[in-house]
């Protein structure tokens, strides 16, 4: 389990190779030899996590830019971030 909370600060894993394909992003995890794809919203989250950000701040910025209920957005974002942490695509930021 990822142990994610609103106060967790995350950043994308800089070891990943990635490429944008239209609005999506494809990510190569060299150590695992695995490739992942993110849809347009996932790609947007990937871009926003270029700089460290708390989950709460990420959800705030997404709520400002997308239609949708804040609680619903947070639930979906937490699910996606948990998957991304499990696969090392994003990692906790240690200041």
């Amino acid at each position: 389990m990822s142990g994610l909370s609103a106060g967790t600060t995350l950043v994308r894993n800089k070891d990943m190779l990635f490429s944008h394909i239209h609005h999506e992003v494809v990510i190569f995890h060299m150590m695992k030899g695995a490739y992942f794809s993110l849809d347009a919203i996932g790609a947007d989250i990937w871009s926003r996590l270029d700089t460290p950000m708390t989950v709460a701040a990420l959800c705030d910025s997404l709520t400002a830019d997308y239609d949708g209920d804040r609680a619903e957005i947070e639930r979906d974002v937490l699910l996606l971030l948990a998957d991304m942490m499990d696969t090392d695509l994003v990692i906790p930021h240690q200041p």
């Binding site: 190779l17 490429s19 394909i21 239209h22 999506e24 992003v25 494809v26 190569f28 060299m30 030899g33 490739y35 992942f36 794809s37 993110l38 849809d39 790609a43």
Partner: protein
């Protein structure tokens, strides 16, 4: 003695050749030259690397298979082979027409998919995916319905921004005995690829040789109780297609190789429609999977 033969649309010239080949004009230029000679040993460096594949400092790619031999691949057309003592020639030949051909393809800038190709609307529909999932059997089901067979095994694709083409192939499908029996094929006249292994190269109707535009790609990665077919976005298709390539550890496990691979796959998936096709677990239900694929490609 060196011979020139053709298999899967590729002409090989050399001392060791793939099984199932047909004789070719000895004066025709070879695509691939195979030479038995000394091959460098696997470098004993500290990097983890892949247990079978290693890239040498000069860019040549080394394949080392214990008990069979070492292969050194360069330029997209040259294979140096040092067989292990007592190595089975059929095993050496099978490596040539599979993983070795795939790496030579990649050295030529091609995408070497694991799959089969069928004629569709003047072009080629590819069925690519995981090893053993049923790609050739699905192709055989469609071939029995009149689709021409274009390729099986290493499916060589050229991908550019202005379109993608199937480069080579032959009207042959490699089938296990169980699949052939399920299809009602008579295997008389088809010797097994290797004595004791019930796998056969079966001949089908094809089309004249030549590059063909790719009209669609079905990606077969797993099986389920019921067949399913889902149209993929270009990004999804890239991630799925990385699992349908031959010998990927040889050329795409470092950053430059992976970046080049993603770029080529992105060019392919933005110009060609791709579907994820889940096969029925029961081999006998392959006809319903084929029907689903035909519906998806609007046939």
């Amino acid at each position: 003695m060196r011979k020139t033969v053709e298999l899967g649309g590729w002409r090989y010239c050399g001392d060791i050749l793939p099984p199932g080949e047909i004789a070719a004009d000895p004066d025709a230029p070879a695509d691939i030259t195979v030479t038995v000679t000394a091959v460098p040993a696997m470098p004993e460096d500290c990097s983890p690397g892949h247990p079978l594949w290693r890239t040498l400092t000069d860019g040549r790619i080394l394949l080392s298979v214990p008990g069979i031999g070492r292969f050194c691949l360069s330029g997209g057309d040259r294979v140096d082979v040092e067989p292990a003592t007592g190595a089975d020639p059929v095993s050496l030949g099978l490596l040539l027409s599979g993983p070795v051909l795939a790496v030579l393809n990649r050295q030529r800038g091609l995408l070497p998919f694991d799959g089969a190709a069928l004629g569709l609307n003047g072009g080629a529909l590819l069925a690519v995916g995981a090893s053993g999932v049923g790609k050739s059997t699905l192709a055989a089901v469609l071939a029995q319905q009149g689709w021409p067979v274009l390729a099986d095994g290493v499916v060589s694709v050229s991908s550019r921004k202005d379109g993608a083409e199937l480069i080579r192939g032959a009207a042959c499908l490699r089938l296990w005995r169980r699949s052939a029996q399920m299809l009602g094929l008579d295997l008389q006249g088809y010797p097994p690829l290797r004595p004791g292994v019930p796998r056969f190269d079966t001949r089908w109707s094809g089309l004249p040789p030549g590059p063909r535009p790719i009209t669609g790609i079905a990606i077969l990665l797993n099986r389920a109780a019921r067949p399913e077919c889902e149209r993929l976005s270009p990004g999804q298709a890239v991630a799925c297609l990385t699992r349908a390539l031959w010998s990927r550890p040889a050329y795409a496990e470092d950053r430059p190789g992976a970046a080049a691979l993603i770029a080529d796959l992105a060019a392919l998936t933005t110009s060609v429609p791709c579907w994820r096709l889940t096969l029925a677990e029961d081999l006998d239900a392959m006809a319903s999977t084929a029907d689903l694929l035909k519906q998806s490609v609007n046939l």
